[in-house]
């Protein structure tokens, strides 16, 4: 899952080495927290959150081995 998020985001930002993804597990959900270089924030959110929405749609569509709900938290 982390690999998927990273592969999507790395081609969108200017500083791919500054991508940080952390995973926190809660009762019913798995939360992934994505942080990027301060200059790249706009590139992962986009106008009206269009890019953020696209990233989430793709991430949520991926098959997972857990039954838990997945959330993607950006910044």
């Amino acid at each position: 899952m982390k690999a998927l998020i990273e592969s999507i985001v790395s081609s969108l930002v200017d500083n791919p080495e500054d991508i940080k993804i952390t995973e926190t597990e809660e009762d019913a959900k798995l939360v992934y927290h994505l942080a990027v270089h301060p200059d790249d924030v706009g590139k992962v959110i986009g106008k009206n959150g269009r890019i953020a929405k696209a990233i989430r749609t793709v991430v949520y569509a991926a098959k997972t081995d857990t039954k838990k709900r997945i959330y993607l938290d950006i910044m």
Partner: protein, 204 residues
């Protein structure tokens, strides 16, 4: 990434010979001049050849294809990607077994992926590309569905003599409906609302 050094009487000639060796065109390479060379006296005495270093830039289209492939593999889906380029329009066609996951409800995953590809291919590139992503002929099927929906809704608008609003759709899907109803008499179509809730209204 491939790079070679080439020489010639002038810088231009050196670049030209490098391009021939790499079998490519000037807009796909980066040229670095090592030595500009000297003409010399009457082109005979003391002339120095020009040297250039030419680096073959990685093709944006190939890079984006790899990007797409990486995303799909990381989603644990196996799919074949066929790329066709016409002018500055790039079409990616996916085929495979579990393709429904990649299309999503009303193509939302496919549209999201298409948007990401569009961003990746046009990132810091000089050339602007338009991208379309298709999976197992989904776009054509969707076009047929939209056209029959358009005809049905247009009839409804005429019959009830009332405006009919359709559900929100991305711009290229609205375009299909506008085009389908353009020649139809007695109705008018326009889009209303702000993205991402922009939708078509059919007015009798």
């Amino acid at each position: 990434m491939r790079e070679i050094t080439a020489s010639g009487q002038t810088v231009d000639e050196a670049v030209q010979s490098a391009l021939e060796q790499l079998n490519t065109t000037k807009d796909q390479v980066k040229v670095e001049i090592i030595d500009e060379g000297k003409k010399g006296l009457l082109g005979l005495f003391g002339s120095k050849r020009a040297f250039v270093k030419v680096t073959l830039a990685k093709n944006k289209i190939e890079e984006t294809t790899e990007y797409l492939k990486k995303i799909i593999t990381n989603m644990n889906i196996e799919a074949e990607i066929t790329v066709t380029v016409t002018g500055n329009h790039v079409n990616f066609e996916l085929s495979g077994e579990n393709i429904a996951v990649l299309i999503g409800k009303r193509g939302q995953t496919l549209n999201a992926l298409q948007h990401l590809l569009h961003l990746a291919i046009n990132k810091d590139g000089k050339q602007f590309y338009t991208v379309s992503l298709d999976a197992e002929g989904y776009r054509q099927r969707r076009k047929d569905t939209l056209e029959s929906l358009a005809a049905k809704m247009a009839d409804k608008a005429v019959r009830m003599n009332k405006k009919v609003a359709l559900e929100p759709m991305p711009s290229f899907e609205r375009k299909i409906i506008h085009a389908a109803l353009q020649s139809k008499k007695g109705i008018n179509t326009y889009s209303d609302g702000v993205e991402p809730h922009r939708h078509i209204v059919i007015k009798p």
